[in-house]
């Protein structure tokens, strides 16, 4: 029993955290749209739910705190108090406090408790401001179990609305269609215009209104919200609002019940009519119990209610909650299956048995589908991470006295859950950097002819097997000459070496390049950039920086979609097997060894009309000549052309074996810093193959050639 209670409490916590995250987003949105009633309602609903379930599970501190926040929000909701920046600040602090309170079930530590009390006092003070004007409201006791929703507005109900404008309504400039449109936007609506009274063209007064409406609206609003829309045409129209009686989910809605509910017909008459073989509506019209329009209108309501029910079912079964460790276990199992499948394929190849081969092939196809499926379950939209940054930018800008907004795009872009978790820190670094050092103070921005409010853009989009994430600001940017001078001083480039902008800026990510007092005259710019790079490297991604002084800077992160299972190209170097991630393979070519030799020291080959630097993997890994299958240098060289960081690099290998699915296993701590490999995998025959780190290899080749070129020129 206790165990199951713990489980419930855990579920409560999970759901409450989700609600609080939602509350944070809503409050931040509310800050820019303080009059948006829907947002106020959403914030109220979130806090109300947290309060109710906290009381149920014995989190009294949470429930008591939430109660005060709810009271304050309620006053904003009914218009007694208005939403101010200060209130949003207080509410955000309240949200953080609730998040903290959630950790404690029993007595609170002194510090937490006093923080709670001080915030509660502020909420009470805020609420008191609204009390004198407000009608006195009975307040629920803070410790009460979740009561029914305090305002009817919170329940989703279906309203039958009839709106009959008077003929003269156009005369005062009323735009009737706008009113109806506004009403329909409140929820799920079926709108039925009636134009029966429209006269012939000759008799028509073009400035008279002949149309009236019947509207079925299912929405979480109260009647007043509907009346508010028509408040300025009260005297010029007839507005009737009824609430349709609710039906438990899944139960069919019957025409007879609707007609009785509307008061069009008695239930006795319905029973009588049901005895006949004809359709109920037809019978009732024939017997002149109801008119045809009445039946039509009731049928429209039936249709509307059906749609509402269907949608509710859809949304309740659209997703289920699964513990993430179960997903991890699933992906691990799929990984094992992939490895096993590789062994099966290998065995069938050796045995040369036709029926076994056919099974192995079918198995491979299925495993491949299973892999894609399992991986897609782990995909999450990156938007959840983006939302955290809105709060970060808001709080930092207040703290620093700067004005800025965070614009996000592509929040729906999906990435593996592990990748998303690991991306959090680097993104915080980059955004902090932009807020702290990129965006200038408002007065300085004005002087520079820029808008006072700085903009930080966070954009995510798919690009093949990668996701591109860009963090950019329209701040002061970096000074190219300063970076170059620093790069020369630190020995990253030769004094007379010409470097492309992209290459130069990317030096900022090198460890040991950035220190607090460099690059710009503002201290700190660049600090932590090597940390960002390291994190992104560990994800198998790349980071690139571009900047223009006075205009801002952009960091582009290129992140692989997944870290667990990838398609790889198996190659042999010496007697060992290695894997090149297929997503970075451009092509494979063969070249006679002597023609490769002729190109001499520069180690460059021509591929698709482009000069591509190459690296001989045999010598890179120091495999002696005897370790190859053939003695000495082979006659024909196999070169895998891989692309990394927007440039190509050739990898000279001994044999290209073929493609295969690869389960990535991390390397032990001892091997983590080995240049050129990023992980390992187990092959079909049980041997281990290392996964080549194409980005690092490309950097090695680039550096090798650069230094050689510089040395050659010097």
């Amino acid at each position: 029993m206790a165990e199951s209670m713990d489980k419930f409490k855990e579920t409560f916590r999970e759901e409450a955290f989700e609600l609080l995250t939602h509350l944070e987003d809503t409050l931040l949105e509310l800050e820019s749209q303080p009059l948006n009633g829907e947002l106020i309602n959403a914030a109220f609903r979130a806090i109300h739910t947290v309060k109710g379930s906290a009381a149920m599970f014995g989190f009294d501190n949470v429930s008591r705190f939430a109660h005060e926040m709810e009271t304050a929000l309620d006053l904003c909701r009914n218009g007694t108090l208005s939403i101010t920046k200060e209130f949003i600040g207080l509410a955000l602090k309240g949200r953080d406090q609730l998040r903290q309170l959630m950790e404690f079930e029993g007595p609170l530590p002194e510090a937490v408790s006093s923080e709670s009390e001080s915030l509660l006092t502020r909420f009470k003070e805020f609420a008191d401001k609204g009390r004198p004007q407000a009608a006195p409201k009975p307040q629920a006791s803070p410790h009460s179990a979740p009561e029914a929703a305090p305002a009817a507005a919170l329940i989703t109900r279906t309203f039958r609305i009839s709106f009959k404008p008077q003929e003269g309504i156009f005369k005062n400039g009323t735009k009737v269609l706008n009113l109806i449109e506004e009403l329909a936007a409140l929820g799920q609506a079926d709108v039925i215009p009636h134009m029966e009274k429209l006269p012939s063209l000759a008799e028509l007064d073009p400035e008279a209104c002949y149309t009236w409406w019947e509207i079925l609206l299912t929405a979480a609003v109260d009647e007043n919200a509907i009346r508010d829309i028509f408040i300025f045409v009260e005297d010029l129209s007839e507005l009737k609002i009824d609430v349709a009686s609710g039906k438990p989910e899944g139960e069919p809605v019957r025409l007879g019940e609707i007609l009785v509910d509307r008061g069009d017909v008695s239930s006795g008459a319905i029973r009588e009519a049901l005895g006949s073989q004809k359709k109920l509506g037809e019978v009732l019209v024939e017997q002149k119990i109801v008119s045809k329009p009445q039946v039509e209108s009731a049928l429209a309501e039936q249709e509307h209610l059906k749609k509402v029910q269907e949608r509710a079912v859809e949304s309740s079964t659209a997703s289920i909650r699964v513990a993430s460790d179960k997903l991890d276990a699933l992906v691990d199992l799929v990984g094992e299956l992939v490895t096993l499948q590789a062994r099966l394929s290998q065995t069938s190849l050796v045995l040369k048995d036709a029926s076994l081969s056919s099974i192995a092939e079918q198995f491979e196809r299925l495993i491949s589908q299973l892999r894609d499926n399992a991986m897609s379950i782990r995909m999450l939209p990156i938007g959840s991470t983006f939302n955290k940054f809105r709060r970060l930018v808001r709080d930092l800008s207040l703290e620093l006295g700067k004005e800025m907004e965070l614009v996000t795009e592509g929040a729906e872009t999906e990435l593996d859950k592990t990748v998303i978790e690991k991306l959090g820190d680097p993104l915080v670094h980059l955004i902090r950097n932009s807020v702290d050092h990129g965006i200038e103070r408002p007065d300085l921005r004005e002087k520079a002819g820029k808008p006072r409010t700085g903009t930080i853009r966070l954009v995510a989009r798919h690009s093949g097997a990668y996701v591109l994430i860009q963090v950019s600001d329209d701040g002061k940017g970096l000074d190219r000459d300063a970076i170059k001078a620093k790069a020369i001083e630190r020995g990253f480039i030769a004094a007379n070496q010409e470097v492309a902008d992209a290459e130069l800026y990317n030096l900022i990510f090198e460890p040991g390049f950035s220190t607090a007092k460099m690059v710009t005259n503002v201290s700190g710019r660049g600090v932590g950039m090597d940390v960002v790079k390291r994190e992104i490297d560990s994800l198998g991604g790349t980071a690139q920086l571009s900047t223009e002084i006075g205009r801002g800077m952009t960091v582009t992160l290129k992140i692989p979609l997944t870290l667990a299972i990838i398609d790889g190209l198996l190659v042999r170097i010496g007697r060992e097997f290695f894997v090149v991630p297929l997503s970075s393979v451009d092509g494979c070519i063969e070249m006679r060894a002597e023609s490769l030799m002729k190109l001499g020291e520069r180690r460059i080959i021509s591929y698709r009309d482009e000069l591509v630097p190459y690296i001989n993997m045999r010598s890179f890994f120091d495999f002696g000549e005897g370790e190859g299958e053939t003695e000495g240098e082979p006659e024909v060289e196999h070169i895998v052309i891989a692309s990394a960081q927007d440039r190509r690099v050739g990898l000279v290998v001994d044999q290209v074996v073929g493609d295969s699915q690869i389960v990535i296993k991390p390397l032990g701590r001892m091997y983590r810093d080995v240049d050129g490999v990023s992980g390992a995998t187990i092959l079909g025959d049980g041997t281990v193959a290392l996964i080549l780190d194409v980005n690092r290899l490309a950097a090695v080749v680039q550096r090798g050639n650069g230094l050689k070129a510089a040395a050659g020129e010097a």
């Binding site: 449109e181 079926d190 709108v191 028509l204």
Partner: protein, 107 residues
Amino acid sequence: MEAGQGPTVINLGASLTVDKAAALKDELFAALSKGGSVLLNLSAVEELDLSCLQVMYAARAQAKASGCGLHFSGQAPERVVSRLSACGFLRGPTERSGDLESALVGF
């Protein structure tokens, strides 16, 4: 208005609001009185309110009764179409604004 052998084409202005309703009614009435079919060109329309919509419905009814047609040409802007849809004048969502004529309820 361009009268000719074919249908009478009426190029509607940008804003079809209550102050234009009387003129629209007169124009349509005159065009329909000639007996031929009438083509309402919606290309320039930016705003359409209920008064002018009612005139169009009444004109269409008269055209039907007298056996001559009243049709739309050109595409109404998305804004107008979505407002008509929200107000219940369109049967389901229209893929293209060109479908307006067939999508208008009871037209």
